[in-house]
């Protein structure tokens, strides 16, 4: 699985609002589709996504089959201290994945 993270602005000042954008490669299988011989393709969506900023959760989302494949999420937080963003998610098959991004806050 591939994921991309973008921070806007890339080098925020303390107290500044930052936009966090993430694009995750996942087929978000709805469970409503059938394969070539008519068998049901089991649902497999990312069902939970969360973002931790230096260990503290700043954003959480529950995803469902109404969301397209390769979901794109965009959310905001306030830059406080330099550190790490940890973005993690899990799909219906129980597969967990995460991606990290450094965040450098200037005074």
């Amino acid at each position: 699985m591939t994921a991309r993270i973008q921070l806007i602005p890339p080098r925020p000042k303390r107290g500044e609002i930052i936009e966090i954008r993430v694009l995750i490669q996942h087929n978000m299988e709805t469970g409503y589709r059938t394969d070539a011989v008519g068998g049901v393709i089991p649902r497999n969506c990312i069902n939970v996504f969360s973002c931790r900023y230096n260990g503290a959760e700043v954003f959480r989302a529950e995803l469902s089959p109404g969301i397209s494949a390769n979901p794109f999420l965009q959310f905001y937080t306030v830059a406080e201290t330099s550190g790490e963003l940890e973005l993690s998610w899990m799909d219906d098959q129980g597969r967990q994945d995460s991606e990290r991004a450094r965040i450098v806050v200037s005074e």
């Binding site: 954008r21 694009l23 397209s68 494949a69």
Partner: protein, 259 residues
Amino acid sequence: MIRRIAVWFVAATLAASGIAASGQERRIALEDLRSGIAFSSREIRAMQEDDFANPGMLWVEKGAKLWSAGARSCASCHREAEKSMKGVATRYPAIDHGSGRLFNLADRIMHCRSERQGAPALRHESDELLSLTAFVSHQSRGMPVGVSIEGPARPHFEAGRDFFYRRIGQVNIACAHCHDANWGKILFAETISQGHPNAFPIYRTQWQAAGSMERRLRACLSGIRAEMLPYGAPEYRDLELYLAWRAQGLPIEAPGVRR
């Protein structure tokens, strides 16, 4: 008479722009050439223009990892793709001088894997093959399509052109009926494009995934209720060559986004 004037006009345009016409008659004048993105909705255009929001970039990124993965990686011969692969996608489909066959870029990558890297073959439309193709094509972004239709490529070009103008399927229309004669008009909820191959592999929202030119051609064949040829069929290669010739001068957009 009108036709003769049109031919003269196209020839004059070609001469003025410095692109060799190779004795071919263009049905779409050079100044009317439009990439498929010009016919897309505002949302699709915004998605393609933003390199972060463009989901096709996921495949490019994966391709970059595959490029340097393993002992006999692509990078071990070709080094930095940013330099060595720049402009390569503009020249495909092209004749492989070893086998004499017409290769598209994916065929070239597969051939390199089996002949030089000793790596397992990749399936058509597999994630790995699409990723590598997207990564290599991406290195030519902004560069104009410019395939060769001379020498051994000539019969392929002619076969592709014949395919383009042949009526097929239950709907009994040729590619040309939509993409030469009626581009820019509305078909159901869509604007008909000119059918150019300059953005492949594309991320298509309908597929929710990246896909090749071949997959797109199959979708067209299915749409006109014609027999879908199997992946790797030589007819696709011939048609790809004709389409690339027809699109010459348009910039490579890989990875493009389409609805």
